[in-house]
Symmetry: C2
């Protein structure tokens, strides 16, 4: 007996019974089908490989769900793919946990799942295990998505925040702050029209091209929540080094700068969802820039600073007028629900 066609999510879609099964068939399996997912057990079985298993998890609670350049579906796949890829591993698999508000539009859910499927395809990852929960109206804000990603890391690769060394160059793969300002614009809070789009994208293709062509990459990290400044502080602390940035070299779109000036935001603390920081020996920096700039996603890659031994655990910013100031980690919160 077919179930009556529903236009919105109802509590029964989270029951684990027939309505859940119907939603899985109608939306999730339709777009995210693959042989591992189709076994129908509560677990997924994946062929093991040599090397280490790399794992990363992230819950996504962004508002609004759709924004210029992306949506929560693209974000939830890209964010976790990137967290796995910055280890040097090839991301291969994802799990997804959906928490949906009663009354949420199934049409919108379908758009988001299609976006997840397209992003997963472009990143070369498969969804292998999923979960759907429904909370009563007013108990969750529309839709939250947790993704956990994994891949295999060859034994010889050692990339991480603890490996920055004095004499290294610091590169960023493009302009900063685009995601934060695009989301702010989508919330209708900018007060003016803008063409700024979120940079949200999977970066594993860019990263593997880099690693295939440039030896001895020490650190890769995506400056998401907390932005460039917070991320570099984490690296400086993990590696016991000082990182110095040249303010004039940091690529920021004029529209992003203008919006930041208006709102009192610092673009160095704004979230990015499609950028990586690369730290590697100075002698390989030119080659890395050449490789990165040859891709559409990395064409604005720039060397923005260097690593030295002291003062340890500090990030310094050299200003255009010749001064130097300490860039601390983000203290409070500029922009909640950004990822």
């Amino acid at each position: 007996m077919p179930l009556p066609h529903q236009d919105v999510i109802v509590i029964g879609h989270g029951s684990g019974g027939r309505m859940t099964q119907d939603l899985i068939e109608r939306i999730f399996k339709k777009y995210l089908f693959n042989p591992i997912l189709s076994e129908g057990n509560d677990f997924a079985r994946i062929p093991a490989s040599s090397g280490s298993l790399i794992v990363s998890t992230d819950s996504h609670i962004i508002t609004p769900l759709f924004f210029p350049g992306g949506d929560i579906g693209k974000l939830s796949v890209s964010g976790t793919v990137n967290d796995v890829a910055v280890s040097g591993a090839k991301p291969l698999y994802l799990t997804a946990g959906f928490i949906i508000e009663e009354g949420f539009s199934i049409n919108e859910l379908e758009k988001i799942v299609i976006s997840m499927a397209e992003t997963a395809r472009s990143a070369g990852v498969q969804l292998v295990s999923g979960d759907t929960k429904v909370a009563e109206k007013g108990k969750v804000d529309k839709l939250f998505i947790n993704t956990t990603g994994f891949g295999w890391l060859p034994e010889e690769i050692r990339i991480g925040g603890q490996y920055a060394r004095p004499g290294d160059a610091v590169i960023v793969s493009g302009t900063l702050g685009d995601h934060g300002i695009a989301v702010l614009a989508a919330r209708g809070e900018l007060g003016f029209e803008t063409d700024i789009e979120s940079d949200v994208a999977p970066l594993n293709g860019l990263i593997s091209r880099l690693l295939e062509n440039v030896p001895d990459v020490h650190v890769l990290r995506d400056p998401t929540r907390g932005g460039l400044a917070t991320t570099l502080n984490e690296i400086a602390a993990q590696s016991n080094v000082c990182i110095t940035l040249e303010e004039t070299d940091i690529p920021i779109r004029p529209e992003v700068k203008a919006a930041c000036d208006m709102f009192g935001f610092d673009p160095l603390y704004l979230a990015n969802e499609g950028k990586i920081i690369i730290i590697l020996p100075e002698k390989h920096a030119a080659k890395a820039l050449e490789i990165l700039r040859a891709t559409p996603i990395g064409e604005l890659s720039t060397r923005i600073g260097f690593v030295s031994d002291a003062p340890q655990k500090r990030v310094l910013l050299k200003t255009p007028i010749g001064g130097t100031r300490i860039l601390d980690v983000l203290a409070g919160e500029m922009l909640p629900r950004i990822c």
Copy 2:
């Protein structure tokens, strides 16, 4: 400069900046510390093993957060450990994604994290990657926790819902419906006092003892959302078999039965969080019961039915008066937010 001591979660705890770091140090690392988690990258590096990698994900949105016999912390670890363990794999690692409501008590969060740590220790699993998000007051109901679990499955083990065969016996490891009724009681909806406690517990110890002592286990599955009836229907469909239950043999506590009668619930559809269904050749059933009953968690294990070849994809219930009725999957939802 130390941060001012907070008693409740504020938006800044989800910023990815200093307040997030402070919360991680003060609560999460304090109880969940291990060498893999401590590397400080956004990914975890885990030594690979032979065999297959088993993965399962689950988001937990139970209300209330604390209930007789457990809390969301114990539930979020047990639920995912059990989903990995029913593959026959040894669960070893977990990720955890927290979505917390602004204003939530840090003292309660700490209790929940302690409960997660204790449950993880008793199950022998390590938390290797975490994420914390904070949503504004009213945008999430107190606390949701997603966990994703991992373990390695030896090549020779093949256990799954697709392996039930005619001639198999069906065993359940204890009484049904305790979790559902305990949560209902904790919501104050029963209208009378009861001693019923949730059965929430990690079952990997019980499962490994079973697999070490009994050959040829075909199916293991934990009957959570949708209960025994829905879970057996899934298995009957995956394996193209018929499963027949003897109603009088199904172990249900009198208090659970009484509560079900009052509310018009069927205990066969109530969620369990510490029970497994075991399906294996009839000739091994006695040995399996002996092993299960020798453990405190499995002492009420019972053979409740058998597998035959037809009618395919059906679950039948033989009633005490000699009739037989079809047990279908859960259609709507009896009890939302149960796990």
